[in-house]
């Protein structure tokens, strides 16, 4: 018998989240591999049909645990467009603030997460500690650390607290000043380079074949394929930022792009805080009861750019108090399922855990 079967997950230190990769290994090369999802399947889409639009606000952040705000944004945006509600300018800016803070937070987590597969635990400790400060900001703004339920249809739940700008600026200054240290620790570290450079290649044609979006796509194609630029939502067309791109998509490049995106996000937040308009943070989403509000009949695909790529909700309303159907397009669906089946074979078992960190695979949004 030439092959052995190894499991990466669900209960494995190399697996972030609760999913399993079944690998048939010969020597140390993976011959065949499959992602076995569904360990986190909660029947989200069914549960959303069973709840009112209002109730769903509490439910949806849980689709993706590490980056919940994009769910709220998708949901709110979809409901608003269907109801033809114009959100106040301030709400747009606050949303951008929250989304970018969330982006920094998940990128930091990812930068630390690279410490797992490569053994650089110091990076993990540092990044988690820095991320925790962002969670403090979230707590101050929304009252919650992880699931904020802050971006609601019609705007944001409440206005920013007094003096929060000071804290945000201070924290971001701190994080920005620490980023060169991360660069030294992770990117200029010869041992880390030897692990990441040239590993887990994602050529451009593979990107199109799989349908990978986000950093994976941008690092391979060299084009600024970012929904914030291509189809600007909120007020991303009013802030200046660059989209870091590359044409050689190995693990190192993808991690580096994450790092560069942190700089860009900080830049966006600075602009947002400078140009924060006055006014109300929210409007009423529809006429009728405050809790049992309705959405006009129609179908819409509402997408935002998450840290892993295009994240969208296909929302169908029959005009009732509950959504008729919501289909979630998880951003990591292509690289998670098809990518592992088609392109993971040939990798060595040493590099298998790196897939999850650098490709950006979030198992809860695959399972739902």
């Amino acid at each position: 018998m030439k092959e052995i079967k190894l499991f990466l997950g669900p209960q494995h230190p190399g697996m972030h989240g609760n999913a399993s990769v079944h690998m048939y290994v010969e020597g140390d090369i993976i011959n065949k591999s499959r992602l076995v999802p569904g360990m986190l399947h909660r029947g989200f889409e069914k549960s959303m049909e069973n709840r009112t639009w209002m109730n769903n606000i509490g439910l949806i952040p849980r689709v993706c645990v590490v980056e919940p705000d994009i769910n709220e944004m998708c949901f709110a945006q979809g409901a608003e467009i269907l109801n033809e509600v114009l959100v106040p300018e301030k709400a747009h800016y606050i949303r951008m603030l929250i989304l970018e803070l969330a982006r920094i937070s998940i990128h930091l987590m990812s930068l630390g997460g690279i410490g797992g597969p490569t053994g650089l635990y110091t990076a993990m400790y540092w990044a988690q500690a820095d991320r925790d400060l962002l969670l403090d900001i979230f707590e101050a703004i929304t009252g919650h650390r992880v699931y904020h339920m802050y971006i609601v249809p019609g705007g944001v739940r409440k206005d920013l607290p007094e003096g929060i700008e000071k804290l945000i600026i201070k924290t971001l200054d701190g994080i920005e000043s620490r980023l060169p240290e991360y660069e030294d620790l992770i990117f200029n570290n010869p041992t880390m380079q030897s692990r990441m450079v040239g590993e887990i290649m994602l050529p451009a044609e593979v990107v199109w074949d799989l349908g990978v979006t986000g950093i994976g796509m941008r690092s391979a194609t060299g084009e600024a394929y970012d929904l914030r630029k291509v189809n600007p939502y909120a007020r991303y067309d009013q802030v200046e930022f660059d989209v870091p791109v590359a044409t050689y998509s190995d693990a190192y490049t993808r991690m580096k792009l994450k790092m560069l995106e942190v700089y860009q996000s900080i830049r966006i937040i600075r602009q947002v805080l400078d140009g924060m308009p006055e006014g109300k943070p929210n409007v009423k989403i529809s006429r009728g009861s405050a809790l049992k509000w309705t959405v006009k009949e129609g179908q819409i695909y509402s997408a935002v750019e998450s840290s892993r790529g295009e994240f969208g909700y296909y929302m169908v309303s029959d005009g009732g108090t509950s959504p008729y159907r919501v289909a979630v397009r998880g951003a990591s669906y292509p690289q998670g399922l098809l990518g592992i089946e088609k392109y993971m074979p040939g990798t060595r078992i040493d590099d298998a855990p790196l897939w999850f960190d650098t490709m950006g695979i979030c198992s809860p949004e695959i399972d739902r």
């Binding site: 999802p37 569904g38 399947h41 029947g43 889409e45 069914k46 549960s47 069973n50 467009i81 199109w208 074949d209 799989l210 349908g211 979006t213 796509m217 084009e223 394929y225 291509v230 189809n231 129609g298 179908q299 819409i300 695909y301 997408a303 295009e310 969208g312 296909y314 169908v316 008729y324 159907r325 289909a327 397009r329 669906y333 292509p334 399922l337 098809l338 399972d367």
Partner: protein, 180 residues
């Protein structure tokens, strides 16, 4: 809802589609997003055509259950990254005999989306054998769960033990809740 859009490329594409295929209805939801109701026979050709014209990404394949009209509506969501245009093709298939031909030969990425649709709605995709296996669920013993006639609460009540509380939160008349 709009009937036309100013975005470059969208109207031309819609006109092309109308000329070539049996388009039932076109709705512009956002200026970059067009919903196109197609006849089920034309879908594959339309997708092939779209792929040749820049729509290289399949964002999702999903399904909507309309039990009253006895149809499933299949949703094919494609996107052109270079222009930023999105087309959503919708086809209707019979609910009782839910069959459709796979699109994996056009968009390879559809493999797992189709599998998911099969698992949650029971739609069989001909030509995609792997879609017949379970993906998320394990040893599922009931209707496909996302169909409208499947009641998940009843299933849960039937199958899982619920914690008993002295009070019922839902209805009036229960005893006051006591902390023990």
């Amino acid at each position: 809802m709009m009937n036309s859009t100013n975005r470059p490329g969208m109207n031309e594409m819609v006109n092309e589609l109308k000329a070539r295929f049996n388009v039932e209805e076109v709705t512009f939801v956002q200026d970059h997003e067009a919903h196109v109701d197609l006849h089920r026979k034309d879908l594959h050709e339309a997708l092939t055509y779209m792929k040749q014209n820049g729509f290289r990404q399949l964002s999702a394949v999903t399904c909507i259950d309309w039990p009253n009209e006895k149809i499933f509506q299949l949703i094919f969501n494609i996107y052109d990254w270079s222009k930023g245009n999105r087309f959503i093709f919708r086809v209707k298939i019979d609910r009782e005999e839910a069959m459709f031909t796979t699109i994996t030969n056009i968009y390879g990425g559809a493999k797992y989306y189709e599998r998911e649709v099969h698992e949650f709605f029971g739609v069989v995709f001909e030509g995609n054998d792997s879609a017949l296996k379970q993906l998320f669920l394990e040893q599922w013993d009931d209707l496909p769960p996302l169909r409208k006639d499947f009641d998940s609460r009843a299933y849960s009540d039937r199958k899982y033990v619920k914690r008993e509380y002295k009070t019922s939160f839902g209805e009036k008349g229960g005893e006051p809740f006591e902390r023990n």
